[in-house]
């Protein structure tokens, strides 16, 4: 079973990898975006870590709702409301259970991903974070490691796609050939789950 501690480890593991990869995320965002994805997410997850240290919520849902709130408040770019909505909706779907199992987490995350698709109007294949999140959530039924690998593959699979959402969509065909930064950071988020689980 996964308790609040597991969810805090998930958030801190993700914050650490966003920190490590911030330059790469920003580099991916410079040919097709506005070159701030890494620094924006870094600011957001730094705030998440600080908030979790200060408040230490005691249910999985409360951890994610607090984290989502921090991201919406501090990121400054589109990834703030998108990731914030993902975590908050996932947290709300988990309710106030003290512990959840992997299948419940997968269902809740699916609700979170659906909320992101509604908010951003993106579907799979649009070259967005959805392209890593959907395969990641689909594979979560098997294991955390499988989810990490599927999300990573999903991020790589955005390279040949043409962007249809966000700033990159203004570039039309010129967006082809670049890995989507949002899908890349989403793969980090899913990898954080595997890390928290020790897989």
């Amino acid at each position: 079973m996964l308790d609040a501690d597991f969810f805090r480890r998930w958030m801190t593991a993700t914050a650490a990898s966003v920190d490590r990869e911030a330059e790469r995320l920003t580099a991916l965002d410079s040919p097709i975006g506005d070159a701030d994805h890494g620094s924006n997410l870094q600011r957001g997850f730094t705030a998440v870590t600080a908030a979790l240290e200060k408040e230490a919520p005691d249910t999985p849902g409360a951890v994610l709702i607090l984290a989502g709130r921090q991201l919406i408040s501090t990121v400054g770019g589109a990834s703030g409301p998108l990731y914030g909505t993902l975590l908050r909706r996932t947290g709300k779907a988990l309710g106030d259970a003290a512990e959840v199992d992997r299948a419940q987490l997968a269902d809740a995350l699916r609700a979170g991903v659906d909320a992101v698709m509604t908010l951003g109007g993106a579907a799979p294949g649009d070259k967005t974070m959805i392209d890593a999140l959907v395969p990641g959530v689909d594979a979560l039924g098997d294991s955390f490691g499988a989810a990490r690998d599927a999300a990573e593959q999903g991020a790589l699979a955005t390279i040949p796609l043409q962007a249809r959402k966000g700033r990159a969509s203004y570039l039309g065909e010129r967006s082809i050939g670049h890995q989507d930064p949002g899908a890349t950071s989403s793969a980090l988020l899913v990898a954080g789950l595997a890390e928290a689980a020790g897989e």
Partner: protein, 136 residues
């Protein structure tokens, strides 16, 4: 109309200067609209380009006279941040609406219409209609 409560207008841009300037321009062009509560919410709290949920929520609270708040945005994360705040339920005043309209033209139309004492539906409709203004 001195005691009349007017719809509030929030202008959300990625840039603080753009939000402030559009607010000034809209009020200036609307003449006689000095009573309309208009608040800019531009850039991040750190003064950089971007969108701030806190600045937007504060701006909306500052223009709320109890009869509705129309929020007009520029692009991308401004739209998403307002939508995410609305989805939250309690972050923005009751009767806050994200209006789909061109930013500058919509702002002028919204301020002019709000000055007449129109309700939120009327202000939102006027701003949205600005999509159909042809320039040539």
């Amino acid at each position: 109309m001195s005691d009349e409560k007017l719809v509030g207008i929030v202008l959300v841009s990625h840039s603080a200067q753009v939000a402030v300037s559009v607010a000034e321009l809209a009020k200036g062009l609307a003449g006689g609209a000095a009573a309309v509560p208009v608040a800019p919410a531009g850039g991040t709290e750190g003064g950089e380009l971007g969108t701030s949920a806190e600045l937007i929520a504060a701006a909306a609270a500052s223009v709320d006279r109890g009869v509705g708040v129309a929020v007009l945005t520029d692009l991308g994360s401004a739209v998403l941040t307002v939508k995410a705040l609305l989805a939250e339920g309690d972050e923005l005043p009751a009767q806050t609406r994200l209006v789909d309209c061109p930013f500058l033209e919509g702002a002028v139309a919204a301020v002019v219409t709000a000055a007449t004492g129109a309700d939120l539906d009327g202000v939102a409709a006027a701003a949205s209609e600005a999509y159909s203004y042809r320039k040539v």
